[in-house]
Symmetry: C2
Subunit: 210 residues, 2 copies
DNA sequence: GTCTATATAGGGATAGAC
DNA sequence: GTCTATCCCTATATAGAC
């Protein structure tokens, strides 16, 4: 029980950051919520940013896992949907990072570099998938279109939750919120697809998005 | 000279917010920069949020203007590019709003409602343009695709600057930054276009994006 | 309209006892 | 490992003189 405090601080911080937004949570709030003293918190972590960094490291491990390309087989549209789903769930669990992304990454050089690296890796990943779809003849896209679309995939993925929050003013997650985000990403691909695949995607979407 | 102080506070606040980010600028910073006393600042504005609200009101006026549909004539791809350019310039001038969009709009109900309204109006606007391109036969898209794409247009537009900042870690604006954003938005349309228009768009883009 | 001075509050962080 | 107590600093905001 004794050595678990460190982990409890991380868990509680994550929960508070996600609900209220990282800038609106103080070290006192965290200590309060845990029923420990502020001093105790500073025994385990140098400062608030130290907590943020450790949470980010957790996130990084999980998202890197989600970015690993499963196998050499060309992904189907269902595969792509599924991989997006895993990524979105991961991002949801650490959504505080995305809520104040620019502020957080501009205040902390280390986080900025790591986040930028993840983003670039993910973009390359998306580009590879798109090229695969092109090579197999399932879609038709120029090199420039693929590059631009890969960026748009990451842009929409990264900021869907923000867009949704600003548009709807939600606090609580609606069951359809993430699904809707995945749908928006898939719709970036739709117009590139051949008629058969394009139709396939739309029926696929109809099953997931109500 | 006397009654101009109010405007000078707004101008200076805007400049500081844009450069450092609104959460990182205090009323003291603003007063310092203007060589006036903090007390004087509070004579002109109730608090910092009051300043933010007035700046937002300015922004709202300008962006609403940019959202007015020019005429009944169907917009060409060049027209669309130009209108995006006007919108991006306007957003750039008030980029502090977009830098911390979720935090700012979640703290202030009035701003959230107004921003949400702008976003919805702009989405409807984009949808109308897309439908126009469909009706004229320049592109082929289903109703669902048009709706999804309109959302993606606004998502990419709204968060392009954030995406670019996180990816590159810029502070200063590169000459190509906004152009690149416009390009990313136009690339959302490219795959829907008929071959002739699709090619036209790419040559058009090649002229603007170096 | 503008200043000086100040009140108030809160957050970040540390020292030292237990 | 944990607590209490406290310090420092900064931010917001106000009062009252000029």
């Amino acid at each position: 029980m004794a050595t678990k405090t460190r982990e409890r601080i991380l868990d509680t911080s994550l929960a508070l950051f996600n609900v209220r937004g990282e800038p609106n949570v103080t070290t006192n709030h965290i200590a309060d919520e845990l029923d420990i003293s502020p001093g105790n918190l500073y025994y385990h972590f140098r400062n608030k940013d130290d907590i943020v960094e450790h949470l980010f490291a957790r996130y990084e491990l999980r998202i890197e896992e989600a970015l690993v390309v499963p196998d050499a087989r060309l992904p189907t549209l269902e595969d792509i949907w599924l991989r997006l789903h895993v990524a979105f769930e991961c991002m949801w669990d650490y959504r505080f990072i995305y809520r104040d992304l620019v502020d957080i990454t501009s205040r902390n050089r280390k986080l900025r570099l790591h986040f930028s690296r993840i983003l670039k890796r993910a973009t390359a990943n998306a580009e590879a998938v798109l090229r695969g779809l092109g090579a197999s003849g399932e879609m038709r896209a120029s090199r420039a279109e693929i590059e631009a679309t890969a960026h748009n995939v990451l842009l929409v993925t990264s900021f869907w939750m923000s867009y949704n929050a600003v548009l709807g003013g939600h606090i609580e997650r609606e069951a359809t919120d993430l699904t809707r985000g995945i749908y928006q990403v898939m719709m970036l691909l739709a117009p590139f697809l051949r008629d058969a695949e394009r139709l396939h995607l739309h029926t696929l979407a109809a099953n997931y998005v109500k």
